[in-house]
Amino acid sequence: MASDDSSNVPLQELTGAAAATAAVVPPVKSPKLKLYSFWRSSCSQRVRIALNLKGLEYEYKPVNLLANEQSDPEFERLNPIKYVPALVDGETIVADSFAILLYLEDKYPQYPLLPQDPKKRALNIQIASIVGSSIQPLQNYPVWNFIEEKLDSNEAIKWTQHHINRGFTALEKLLKGCSTKYATGNEIQLADVFLEPQIYGGIKRFGIDMSVYPVLARLHEAFLEHPAFLAALPEKQPDAPSL
């Protein structure tokens, strides 16, 4: 049984160096926040990161995609397209990571993820869109299963790698000359929340060579030092398989 439950640990209870560098946001007791998530889903990971950054406690509700739990009628009522993540906040139900993140941004403005400057704002949305519309959907299971079934799993892997590389090439161009700690500034913003799960999954699952993406590689290293990102990692989730 996976014993590491740090995904539900408010930032301030992380120990040592992590606590020292943690964002100073007092945890908001919102036991009515429930996140339906799958450990390995990069879309779920985005929301986990944001909840951590904003210091929001939540109940982790696992949806096992490999056992097709997303097709349970209960879950379909929460999200008719049957994808994770979905967020329940009292009476409010929001699905789709982008919609959830913008909802959290409005409702819990602490640690804002979108800058005021219109150009920087647009850049954050564009980066989020590149990941959320042009990379991730092409490796999602409907496409993956189709290619695997019609061709084979090697082709599915090559297809996924191609689109990750294509997206990363474009992102690297967009972020050329980036001299700030994170993608669009010295604070974590929406772009970072979308970038890291895609980079992490790209490396871990698809062997993407990050040496050709120096800006993204540098950002990735910076993300891996941030407690909110660490606590949101797939392996740290309650439904991750125990080693």
Partner: protein, 228 residues
Amino acid sequence: MAEAEAEAEATAGRLRLYSYWRSTCSHRARIALSLKGVDYEYKAVNLLKGEQSDPEFVKLNPMKFVPALVDGDSVIGDSYAIALYLEDKYPEPPLLPHDLQKKALNHQIASIVASGIQPLHNLTVLRFIDQRVGAGESVLWTQQQIEKGFTAIENLIQLKGCAGKYATGDEVQLADVFLAPQIYAAIERTKIDMSNYPTLARLHSEYMAHPAFVAALPGRQPDAPSSS
């Protein structure tokens, strides 16, 4: 001399939209501009001729996608970023409600279209399927992805009981900006049977009767083929 100067000034203040007549993503941006009453210069990018790979355009949008919006020295690639940029810069009429639940619902519907449907039948996917799986296989695939997405949106709208004249109420909102191009393309190009989606079918007729939506239709664009 004075005329040329005045013209240069007018062009200088104008937004510029890089668009392809038939691109649903470009269509979204055109609707948003049209709804906000914003004048813009139309710059055609012929995707079938590969003009998105022209070095000039790649400098503007490294993803080599349309649409891209140029506003002075700002370049915004991506229809979602463009829609929200316009929402901030031209607040009237608002495309997002103040109510957080309704706002989230608009983003959810827009995202189902922008992440869950359109990317799965983009040119790159269709070419791969036709070349590697089998000629014409992409047609069935496209139909399946649209039907899956439309079923979800139809169910979502009914579940939330939110529809009015438009998708989430009686005013046009962000969800409509994203839905209209997807529904139009589904009907015109993929010949989807809309009888399974009564709400979406009704919304389509509302959009076809709204001047701002009509002005943004593919066939109305400068780069649309003249014979239609």
